[in-house]
Amino acid sequence: MRTDEAESCIGLHGEDVNAIAYSSEHTRKWNLKYGLIGVPMLVAWWFVYKSLEPFAGWLARHLVDLLSAHFVWLGNTQHLTSAVEFFFYDTPKVLMLLILVVFGVGIIRSYFTPERTRRILAGKRESAGNVLAALLGIVTPFCSCSAVPLFIGFLTASVPLGVTFSFLISAPMVNEIALVLLYGLFGWKIAAIYMSTGLIIAMLAGWTIGRLKMEHHLEDWVYQIQVGESGVYDEERKTFADRIRFGLEAVRDIVGKVWIYVIVGIAVGAGIHGYVPEGYLASIMGKGAWWSVPVAVLIGIPIYSNAAGIIPVVSALIEKGAAMGTVLAFMMSVVAISFPETVILRKVLKPRLIMVFTAVVAVGIIIVGYLFNMLI
């Protein structure tokens, strides 16, 4: 179930984002200060990150030795060492990657406000518009609680319906948290594959919805809205120091919410890693079971979790013989479509369009799942 908009909401809070713009000397001082602190911080980050693996192995061995000296009933501690090492290594690794990437993406996102994205997409034709919308979905700060105002904002700027959907599919599915976790636990290839297939699903599903000409399946009140263009908020200029602060706020906000899911997810993953026998899941979630992809997607649709909670579990499942495509399909359907999101979208979409939206995305994910099981 929906926990919170943990991954997609960047809510700035507290800090005075615009206050600094007042004096340029002040700005220079802050730029210098962030530069002087930032570079040593990055170097320190790198050294800590590089020494995590040997340190985790050492810590796990010593801890388990200590435990088994006191609790003789533990017996053979091989599984325990393996689980503890997995936990000690993966938790700080994923959290450190998360902090760095959320900060970097936060800075990028400070350039892409929803207002600017709307301006870019306004009047774009389909096809090119679908591609652009899916790409912008990655970098535009998006929160499912703003999905409806954004949806209306796009339509009133004459962004075609299908293009709007490309954005709404890509924004929650392809995000930095999913990419960091996939990179950290599976390597860059799987992360790249996830990102590109996620984008392709968003583009093609949006394009398909556009082809189906379902514009009259919006709720009636949507058509009556006239947005006074003068009312559209134009953002104040940001200095570079403001953007750094935006990034830091994103870290505080997102990592502050997500860390607990990462730890719980990795703990569950560590348990599976240490104790479930190799190949155990091959018969039910392996490539041989053709029905496993659609079943995984059907199970995943109503569930909502953020990527942070689900990926560590997914990683352990794969290790025990679940097929990559099946597991990716499950993950995508959990992250991309959820019951709470359809409830929010129901305010603007008539039931038929919601059904079509869900079905098109689900079919896209199932195809990707089969494709992976064939390729990998």
Partner: protein, 76 residues
Amino acid sequence: MKIKVLGPGCKKCHETEKIVKEAVAEAGVTAEVEYVTDLAEIARHGIFSTPAVVIDGNVKSTGKIPSKGEVLRWLK
């Protein structure tokens, strides 16, 4: 002065309302703070990301929780 805090009712929106009310009290201005959840009205203001703050018809911020310092500057 008429202040509107707009948002469909998420946690951030309520926090924004709280900060605006605190700022109004601190600045000692007479202002009416209204919390708007009606999606049609939010859309009419040309707001695409919430929470948003509108003072006397002018959109002051969207998509973030403003700081109290910012709100105090708008109230001047």
